[in-house]
Amino acid sequence: MEQLINKLQKSFKLSDVKHQRENLTFVTVKKDSALDLVTHCRDYEGFSHFVLLSCVDWIEDGKFQLTYLLNNPSGKFDLGIRTFISRDNASMTSAHLLWRQIATYQRELKEMYGIDFPGSPRVDESFILEGWDEIPPMRREFDTKKYSEDTYFPREGRGSNDPATYMKSKLYPDDEK
């Protein structure tokens, strides 16, 4: 794994390398070289299995983190490639030509986070939601509880304990904090 990272380091600018486990490493690259790295890993380093494409919303930094997680089935290790894109007018190059399932991930991210992937097939069709006209729900600023209370007629008299106080009284009655 170390060797591979060193090798990749020569041609790509990797930063923030983190060896999470002996078979899982995360690296960060710039937005424009991310897909080059993914393609390189697929074609030359044996990462033939694409595990997932995920997004993390770092609202305090104003960034989305996209994670491309690749797996090398023969070497039995994973490489997570992180890249950060801006939250405003979020957009990323589409990778749907690399693996067939990426189009589905990109469709989901478009719907859930509002990240655009120009050229990805059916990316503008609704995937999970239907007739959604709010901001994309997985963004951090979307308050699901408030939306639910405003929209779905909460039943009056539903008693809900605040879990924190309830658990505190049950589990840690002596806890001071």
Binding site: I128, L129, E130, G131, W132, D133, E134, P137, F142, T144, K145, Y147, S148, E149, T151, Y152, F153, P154, R155, R158, S160
Partner: protein
């Protein structure tokens, strides 16, 4: 249907055109013999009449007898709407065997009498549930399974699941729990039978009586309403 309501429908269609699938849009079609006709699927395929109230038979003896038959022959619509549907296979298999009580599964809403809402309903499913429910013939009964149909349950704060089923369709029997055991569902069937035999399960008529209220609630959350108001 009066002209006035037709206009309202028309305005709404234009607003919601972006939600319409291409095959549901208005378009020109060439028939096999060469003439060109205009097709508006939303208007053509469905009747837009309002539902009717069907009163019970006025002779009590006959009505009691018919209610007995209805109660002993519950045909359940096989529509697993939520995670509760995992408990439906055990119901029809040796361990619990709901067939003993005259409960049978049907695949089409036209032939079913009981709709088991098996758990939470997302907005997208609710739209299909409303359609299926309205296609069922009168008298029809709804069993709501699980806490999430009562007050949202686990998903009280979710942006995509409804909190109370009774705002959108009348419910005959609630079964609490997450998830309710098959025995609870059997008990629910028995409760429903009691209600039917006592003549108290006339919720289908209640739905018609409060039709506008139910529709307003449904339309409030189903934003892409691209179907007729009442689905025959």
């Amino acid at each position: 249907m009066t002209n006035e309501t037709n206009n309202i429908v028309e305005d709404k269609l234009e607003l919601e055109d972006k939600f319409l699938a291409p095959e549901n849009r208005k378009r020109q079609v060439t028939t096999p013999d060469g003439t060109i006709i205009e097709v508006d699927p939303l208007r053509d395929y469905f009747s837009d009449a309002r539902p009717q109230i069907y009163r019970p038979n006025s002779i009590p003896v006959i009505e009691n007898f018919l209610n007995w038959a209805r109660a002993e022959s519950l045909w359940v619509l096989g529509f697993g709407t939520g995670c509760g549907s995992i408990e439906l296979p055990p119901l029809t298999t040796p361990r619990f065997d709901a067939y003993r009580f005259g409960v049978q599964m049907r695949a089409t809403p036209r032939q079913s009498n009981v709709f088991i809402i098996s758990g939470y309903l997302s907005v997208k499913t609710l739209k299909r549930v409303v359609r299926s429910y309205e296609q069922m013939p009168n008298p029809k009964y709804v069993i709501a399974l699980g806490s999430c149909t009562i007050n949202g349950g686990m998903y009280y704060d979710s942006y995509n699941t409804i909190n109370r089923l009774d705002q959108y369709m009348p419910v005959d029997v609630y079964i609490a729990g997450c998830m309710p055991r098959p025995e609870a569902l059997l008990a629910g069937f028995n409760k429903l039978k009691e209600l039917i035999k006592a003549g108290k399960a006339e919720k289908a008529n209640e739905y018609v009586e409060n039709f506008d209220w139910y529709k307003a609630n449904q339309k409030k959350i189903i934003k892409d309403w691209n179907m007729p108001d009442y689905n025959w």
